[in-house]
Amino acid sequence: MNRRQFLKIAGASTVLGLGGASAVNGFRLGVPAAARMSLDPRALTAKRWGFVVDVSRLRTEEDYQKCIDACHNIHNVPTFKNDLQHEVKWIWKENFEATFPGTEHEYMNAEFKEKKFLVFCNHCKEPACVRVCPTKATFKREDGIVMQDMHRCIGCRFCMAACPFGARSFNYLDPRGKNPDGSPLIRVQSQTYPTRTIGVVEKCIACYERLAIGQQPACVEASNGAILFGDLEDPNSEVRKVIGEKYTVRRKPELGTQPSIYYVIGGSEHA
């Protein structure tokens, strides 16, 4: 064997050795073999979670704000004063025209035109954001929730370009920072839920952490019946009953993302 051959063999075996070692590491589990990880028995489960938002039941400014605050407070969502450019929001108000672009018309009655809708992540059945994410940081769970793994997000913002509903926010600033007037961006810090870090994308995650221990999403609980939550695949669920009885619409259905939020617009007396 000459020197050249020796180096070739030595090089190849080093590469193989390293590859072998990393393969073993990849399969090594951090928990002992005898340990198990499982669902909490209290967890709420479904085939496909969905929401019904009945805006006729949201009457006062306070009705909306209660839902928004419930969500934003427990999830440490920062509130930006006057800095709309860098705003982070999970659930918020939009008027009819912004919620359902293209469906407004010049003769629409003023009540509809001014009516506010609560918008948040649609947890689409065919989510465009999941399709484009290069790291599976955003992914669809088996129960239909479109999750965001803030640990894995690289902040490329492809999902923000892909989402047709503007549901996603990027942390341009450190959410633990302050407004120009010195007030903290996170008004009341929840001790039980993390904040986010600079440079990741976030959005509504359908309170997966509450479902896991048997609680309804925070906005649903605060909405006094205006937002319903349930299994869209279960014909006996409350959401399906409402969808079956009333005329409901979804945002931008023509794009085929199959949103899981159904809006009741007309109010029960017109239905």
């Binding site: 860098h86 484009v132 290069p134 894995r152 690289i154 503007g166 600033l173 794009l255 993302t257």
Partner: protein
């Protein structure tokens, strides 16, 4: 061969140190971005991609355009390109390097970039873009270095490099196609949702890339003994001419479909770009400049008298290059986000720091290009010298 980049005139070293200085300042600015996040840019919740991604998109085209030399030379045995094909490949290397840096500069969490490899996701176009771009960089490095090394020793390049050269042809098309797919497959972004996007990208790339290359070749001729030859320059100029015509034609197709169909969503971004929307018109002067330059460039290039005039030619090429840069490096990416998903207009202007980082990346690209061209030209000068001695 790298040692050839270490000997040069005073002008060469001044240029190198100017570039290093710019890179240094830009790096300090980037450290600020690492600390304060992308809030130091003009980006927003509504316009979430801007200058960085637009430069990336534009430069993928410049990189892909090397194929406009490779095809004639290697597939059609067009010998006139023999002297400059290496310059095209080295331009591709510098461009892909800049592309990767722009992606990195745009990331919110750049230290997590390896997640793309750790969690490979074939359904994401971004994943494929990473794959094809690194592959293209690798191919051009190997091909460029090997063929130049062979030329230095005055021997034909090794046979194993031929398949790689042929592979580089579809690969070049793939990098710009995949980059177009980043945009063209997104629901709800009307400006981008068009089947002709990849074709438009390639046309604009094959205009802007070779235009830059000709300008570089003409510059090299002035500062060194290396002359690519008038015929090579003229052939390349014809490629620029046809590609730019196709580019403008494709764009007009977009305008027709949007306006004749009269669908508001499709018209809105074009309206914003060329006339302004809801009183917002930051890009209007830029887009009209691009339009005027495009037609001016085409006019000067189509006419053989002006194209063959080596005083007018650089002006025509510069017009084409700037026009394509405005179209892709500003209009296309930013226009896609306006109006936003709620039919409102949030405008975007890059900040000073954002522009500084952008200039820094271009400086790194220029440094890579300078070093590579220095080596290539030194090799060519010495082999030419030997040839004349024999």
């Amino acid at each position: 061969m790298l040692e050839k980049a270490l000997v040069g005139s005073k002008r060469y070293w001044t240029w190198i140190f100017v570039l290093l200085g710019i890179i240094g300042v830009a790096f300090l600015t980037y450290l600020q971005q690492l600390k304060y996040g992308l809030s130091i840019t003009g980006l927003s919740r509504d316009v979430s991609w801007g200058f960085y991604i637009a430069q990336f998109t534009f430069l993928v085209g410049v990189a892909a355009s090397a194929v406009m030399l490779v095809i004639p030379y290697y597939l059609h045995d067009y010998k006139k390109f023999g002297k400059i094909v290496i310059l095209g490949e080295f331009l591709a290397i510098a461009s892909v390097t800049m592309c990767m840096l722009f992606i990195l500069a745009d990331m919110g969490q750049p230290m997590r970039v390896m997640n793309v490899i750790l969690h490979p996701t074939p359904n994401s176009v971004m994943f494929w873009d990473a794959v094809v771009l690194s592959g293209y960089l690798f191919i051009n490095l190997v091909v460029g270095w090997t063929t130049l090394g062979a030329e230095r020793k005055s021997v034909p390049p090794p046979t194993w490099v031929k398949p790689l050269i042929y592979l580089s042809v579809p690969w070049a098309v793939s990098i710009h196609t995949v980059t177009a797919f980043l945009y063209a497959g997104l629901p709800g972004r009307h400006l981008w949702l068009t089947a002709i996007m990849a074709a438009r990208f390639l046309a604009s790339a094959f205009a802007a890339g070779p235009a830059l290359l000709i300008m570089l070749v003409m510059f090299v001729r002035r500062v060194s003994k290396f002359d690519a030859g008038t015929e090579a320059i003229q052939s390349l100029a014809k490629i620029v001419t046809y590609a730019m015509c196709a580019n403008v034609f494709f764009f007009l197709l977009e305008v027709f479909t949007a306006t004749y169909s009269n669908i508001p969503g499709h018209m809105a971004p074009l309206k914003y770009l060329f006339f302004g929307l809801d009183g917002h018109n930051a890009l209007v002067p830029w887009m009209w400049t691009a339009a005027v330059l495009a037609f001016m460039g085409i006019g000067l290039l189509v006419n053989p008298l002006t194209r063959k005039n080596e005083k007018v030619l650089p002006i025509a090429l510069l017009a084409v290059f700037i026009s394509a840069w405005i179209d892709k490096g500003m209009g296309l990416v930013i226009g896609g986000f306006i109006p936003n998903m709620f039919e409102r207009v949030t405008e975007y202007t890059p900040t000073g720091r954002e522009i500084m980082i952008t200039i820094g990346v271009y400086a790194i690209g220029s440094l890579v290009l300078t070093v590579l061209y220095k080596i290539a030209i030194a090799v060519k000068e010495s082999t030419a010298g030997e040839a004349s001695h024999h």
